[in-house]
């Protein structure tokens, strides 16, 4: 009887709770859907969890994940629909879509949290309302260069980047950082998905390259490391967030052994509360093994957690959380957000000047078919100096 009463009270409460919509637009199909699919699942599951566990401050957050097929026009249409509906914040995805929407985001004043960690998203102009969940690609690559400089002072490095703004994002900062670290960037090679990278690898070997640092997606990186192994090259491989992880292990197998990777997320098989939480949520919402193994699943959770926390705090402050005033209230909360949802290696902290949530990173290495951390969480020493000059 008591259970029925509790259930009825819960249902009654839910019926009375104010609904707030939160939309994500990203690639569930099309290019990069190998990341987007899991990112969307992370958002959906965290949202359900937050509602069920009462982490929404009495609101009912209705999360909606929409497939934009990595098409900027679709992203814009979804963003405009969210705006029209009165959503207080928006979860984005691609670099192209985010960069293209910047002027509109600025004009309407909507908090926007992309899955793209391109530093240009939060660089002026039109960057007031954009917030990165974790450290930028530029900081990730510089952190790798710092690690490499410690291991092999004066190392010769080649950057192998995706032929897009996503890939090119860290190149200028990486060049400046390399100069200060005494590392020689021998070449910057743009690489698409191919069947054979022998020519590129042989050229790198002839140039004496010791490390290849990737700002790319896992597919081409996997083929590259497999080709390097076949050619018997001793070049070491390192990559930023989207270049490595469990996807790379799945595609490259043994050839990925030794790959150095930088990210702000924990590995799903780590014995830490964050990983246990992700596993718990995955099981609770009956996600398959590949979702639980994906680093993009907790990434989506983190984006949802940030937006929900800001909405909750705005509501707790007695502010409206929908429409024009709702957008303004949530934005004000974002500027002072400081909390630890326990999904990454550091807390989420934002301020008017700092639009990066989790500032810390870890370097991991593929060993025995899994990525294991080889550093404690740290912040790049050089990034702020080379990018902001301070």
């Amino acid at each position: 009887m008591r259970r029925i009463a509790t259930l009825l009270a819960l249902l009654f409460g839910m019926a009375l709770a104010q609904e707030v919509h939160l939309m994500w637009s990203g690639a569930i199909t099309g290019p990069t859907s190998d990341a987007g699919k899991y990112y969307a699942q992370g958002i959906e599951d965290y949202c359900k969890y937050a509602n069920q566990e009462g982490l929404t401050g009495g609101l009912r957050i209705v999360c909606e994940t929409r497939d934009d097929q990595y098409n900027n026009a679709n992203t814009q249409r979804n963003f405009e629909q969210a705006l029209e509906r009165g959503d207080p914040a928006f979860l984005g995805y691609s670099t192209g879509g985010t960069l293209q929407l910047k002027p509109l985001i600025q004009e309407v004043g909507m908090t926007f949290i992309p899955a793209s960690y391109h530093i240009g998203n939060i660089d002026p102009p039109n960057s007031d309302y954009l917030f990165l969940p974790i450290a930028s690609y530029s900081e990730q690559v510089i952190a790798l260069l710092e690690y490499i400089a410690k291991q092999e002072p004066g190392a010769k490095v080649a950057l192998a980047v995706h032929p897009s703004p996503f890939g090119r994002a860290p190149v200028p900062d990486a060049k400046k950082a390399a100069a200060q670290l005494g590392i020689q960037i021998v070449e910057v090679q743009e690489m698409t998905k191919g069947l054979d990278y022998t020519a590129t690898l042989k050229r790198f070997a002839n140039e004496g390259v010791e490390y290849i640092v990737y700002q790319n997606v896992a597919g081409p990186v996997a083929t590259m490391v497999k080709d390097a192994k076949r050619l018997g090259l001793t070049i070491k491989h390192a990559g930023a967030h989207y270049a490595g992880g469990p996807d790379l292990l799945r595609l490259a197998g043994d050839a990925a052994e030794g790959f150095i990777w930088v990210t702000s997320y924990y590995m799903p098989d780590e014995d830490v509360p964050a990983a246990a939480f992700v596993r718990k949520l995955g099981k609770r919402f009956k996600r398959p093994a590949d979702t639980l193994e994906s680093v993009h699943y907790p990434s989506g959770m983190l984006a949802a957690a940030i937006a929900i926390e800001a909405i909750k705090r705005a509501h707790a402050a007695g502010k409206p959380v929908t429409g024009d005033p709702g957008r303004a209230a949530v934005y004000q909360q974002m500027l002072g957000l400081d909390f630890d949802p326990g999904l990454a290696v550091g807390p989420v902290t934002y301020s008017k000047e700092d639009h990066v949530g989790v500032d810390k990173l870890r370097v991991l290495q593929a060993r025995g078919g899994r990525f294991v951390p080889i550093t404690k969480p740290f912040q790049s020493k050089l990034f702020r100096k080379v990018h902001y000059g301070k």
Binding site: P163, T192, L195, D196, A199, K202, A222, T223, L231, L251
Partner: protein, 297 residues
């Protein structure tokens, strides 16, 4: 010298995969003049079928490949019966739109399976390493790619030259009306061409999946690579598909090896083959081996 040789050999290997992928495209165009924009999706379906049979049903790789070839042939046959046959005699734009729609449909259906948005790789079935000679290295999956391409070329060569069905297909390709008047079932030939295209697409998907992993977008992208290959070789020429594939593969490698260091950011391997393609089409608008169609009015 070994550097140049390595680039040429790697180009040859990649080119043979392009040729294998292009073969099915040419077979369909040659017999029915249909440009199949869903060819990349056929390649993906072939790779996913092999993966599913091996991983979910525990089949042997060889057996899974044979089953995937048969199933993709069936898919081609079915697609022709259901979608293409009602369009016989309709404007070419309608047929093109149907194949584009078909590509979206197959994409969507694959995304409904657990394999849709992920990265997968086949369990290792070939020994590690590869063959090395004169300072050149070729992996076993790459050797397999060349062997499979040769096997399919020889098989199709024999089929078209020696078998009755092959002769019927050639007759339809030359002149549909004349073939019909001689009792050849054009509908049957069309369906057969789609089935054969399914077989070669599955073989290409299997090879690409073995070399660079199984991912829907990556596999579909190989289907797009087919276009420069067949335009260079000639849309309706099987030897043209092979020569076109090898030329594109070798040019990609040579450009990456020698031109990339001269261009900031590199990436010339993606562009250079198209420049050569433009140059060739200037002199040979129907491709290197394509049929010149002269209309007299």
């Amino acid at each position: 010298m070994s550097y140049l040789l390595q680039l040429l050999v790697s180009g040859l290997v990649v080119g043979s995969i392009y040729a294998l992928a292009a073969l099915g495209f040419v077979l369909i165009y040659k017999s029915s003049r249909v440009i199949n924009f869903a060819h990349g999706q056929f390649i993906a379906v072939g790779a996913f079928l092999v993966y599913a049979l091996v991983v979910y049903l525990g089949a042997n790789v060889g057996l899974a490949l044979a089953a995937a070839l048969a199933l993709t042939a069936g898919l081609g046959f079915l697609v022709e019966k259901l979608f293409l046959r009602p369009l016989v005699g309709q404007p070419i734009i309608s047929v093109i739109m149907v194949t584009i729609g078909l590509a979206s449909l197959i994409d969507g259906l694959v995304h409904l399976t657990p394999l849709g948005g992920g990265n997968f790789s086949l369990p290792r079935f070939l020994p590690e390493g590869g063959i090395a000679f004169l300072g050149v290295s070729v992996s076993y999956p790459q050797v397999l790619a060349v062997v499979l391409t040769l096997v399919f070329l020889l098989a199709f060569g024999w089929f078209f030259q020696r078998s009755t069905l092959g002769a019927a297909m050639r007759a339809v390709a030359d002149d549909q009306m004349a073939a019909m008047s001689l009792g050849v079932s054009v509908e049957h030939v069309f369906a057969l061409a789609w089935a054969a295209a399914g077989i070669t697409a599955a073989a290409a998907g299997f090879i690409v999946g073995t070399i660079s992993g199984i991912n829907l977008q990556g596999l579909v992208a190989i289907g797009l690579k087919v276009f420069p290959v067949v335009i260079l070789g000639g849309l309706d020429s099987i030897p043209g598909a092979v020569v076109g594939g090898v030329i594109i593969g070798v040019l990609e490698n040579l450009a990456t090896g020698y031109l990339d260091p001269l261009i900031p950011g590199g990436g010339t391997g993606e562009v250079f083959p198209f420049l050569v393609l433009l140059l060739v089409l200037w002199f040979k608008p129907h491709g290197l081996f394509g049929t010149e169609e002269i209309e007299r009015v």
